[in-house]
Amino acid sequence: MTKRICSLLLTLCLIFSLSTFAFATNGAHKTVDYIAQDWIDTQFSGDAEVSDTIVLRSDNSDEVVGYIVSFTKQSVPAGYIVLSCEDGEHPIIEFALEGQSVYHYLEQQLDVINSAASSGMVSSDSNEFLSSATTFEENVLYTDFIRYAIKISNGTQSALLDQFAQITSCSELDVMTDTAPMSDTFFDDYIDLPNESGSKTVGNITGANDIRALVMGDMPNVTPGEGNCGPTSLANTVKLYAEFSLNDNGGSLSNLKVNDSDAETYERLVEISGYSCGNAASMSTLVSSIKSFAVERGYSCTTTNYLLDLWSDFKRDVTADKPILLYTSSSAGTAHAQVVVGFWEYTNGGKYVKILSGWTSYPTFLKFKPSSLNNFNGYCVAISD
């Protein structure tokens, strides 16, 4: 009897762990309801609810490209999120915490278009309209909004862009900006230099104050403003080991860079991590990438994932001359990878990690596990010959 009960329990546990794995790796953007509800609960402490979900489809293949999820709080419109199905980016690409969704205003515009079309004021050639919509070419999702608006008007109504602008008196941008009192706490606790009173303990890895750190925008083949923090962080970690005496066996690892070039090193790291330069990268991929890179360059590399991300973890490894890859993110979905190269600990309790942020060529600071961030995950990187 005991055996049977144990077998039953084991089977249930196996099913549970397999389903857990499937859930966790299923790509968050494919679970719209889950993402939307989770995000709403985070923002409104559970007192808001989904009121409407719009599916956005590609005009050519009818493939689902995204969703607009609107929600209400006590029956009052309380904002929206736009979820993208594009691989390699966070699913929430736009949000507002109050007001109607973008779609609501598009509907209004569509009414105006339909009204104008019925009076013969606009063209009925949708291709002509879309090809002339150069303002929107760089903004695929917004183009899709318009395509969607055209589609739900039975695919027959459209307008030349200039006619569209005349009819509505404003572009969809002007309308949308009225609805965008958005906020994100992500940058709140990133600081140039802490300025607390009282004495402090300082720790730095070798080279922390001497490195001319690599900056995201200076890397090859990067579109300005796009996220390439992952490979930039790896390249900065390599630069530290290549230029300063961090090797356990003494000295620097002079052959670690590709052709002694930061740019070529970065490009190789991008190749290994499998991401285009314009994309952010997941930490698990980054960690495995730097291991592969180090081995490829003739060195060994071990990484330690801090399970609890304790202050003592960071202090211990900085003191041991080890750089730490750090992943941070806010509840709004903004995320960043950077390299910890030191710490400041005030006697009054203030704690800061010194980082190579990828935004500046010199180290700056970040409060330790601030409330503005809901992820603060460290991965110590040790490369040696």
């Binding site: 005991t2 055996k3 144990c6 077998s7 329990l9 084991l10 196996l14 762990s17 857990t20 794995f21 966790a24 790796t25 968050a28 966070h90 929430i92 690409i93 736009e94 760089e138 903004n139 695929v140 917004y142 949308m176 900006t177 965008a180 009192p181 994100d184 992500f186 940058f187 990133y190 600081i191 140039d192 200076d218 579109t223 300005p224 403003g225 796009e226 996220g227 390439n228 923090c229 992952g230 952010a280 990268a281 997941s282 930490m283 698990s284 994932n305 992943y327 709004a332 979905g333 903004t334 995320a335 960043h336 990878a337 990828g358 935004w359 500046t360 060529s361 010199y362 700056t364 600071f365």
Partner: protein, 121 residues
């Protein structure tokens, strides 16, 4: 006695493994952060030297303000920014259009406002 210990051990192991898998796989990426603002269809990124001044340089004047936050530069509309607050003013001079200054408290740590440079190159 041994017969009981083995299944219970497996039970604990599987629960621990399941929790560990969930814990590890939850550590994933988001939209990569970089401070920027889009003005007149140009993306201006936080200057890598961290250049800031308390007084606005001569010849600079207001050309707009931040009107919203954008997660991705490629999808941002004019006036949208990352790392900046809605309402913060943007300044530019006609003789140097590859940079703008934004009056912002970004990275100050204590809310102090100053003019922070963003560059397009």
């Amino acid at each position: 006695m041994k017969k009981k210990i083995v299944p219970v051990g497996f039970f604990v192991l599987i629960v621990v493994l399941g929790a560990l898998i969930l814990f590890v796989t939850n550590r994933h990426s988001g939209t990569s952060a970089i401070p920027f603002v889009k003005v007149n269809d140009v993306i201006y990124v936080y200057d890598s030297t961290g250049y800031k001044v308390e007084e606005l340089p001569e010849t600079y004047s207001v050309i707009g303000e931040v009107i919203g936050n954008a997660a991705s530069a490629s999808k941002a509309q004019n006036g949208y920014a990352s790392g900046l607050k809605v309402g913060e003013k943007i300044y530019q001079t006609s003789v140097k259009t590859d940079e703008v200054f934004v009056y912002t408290s970004l990275f100050s740590g204590d809310g102090t406002y100053r003019y922070v440079k963003f560059t397009s190159e």
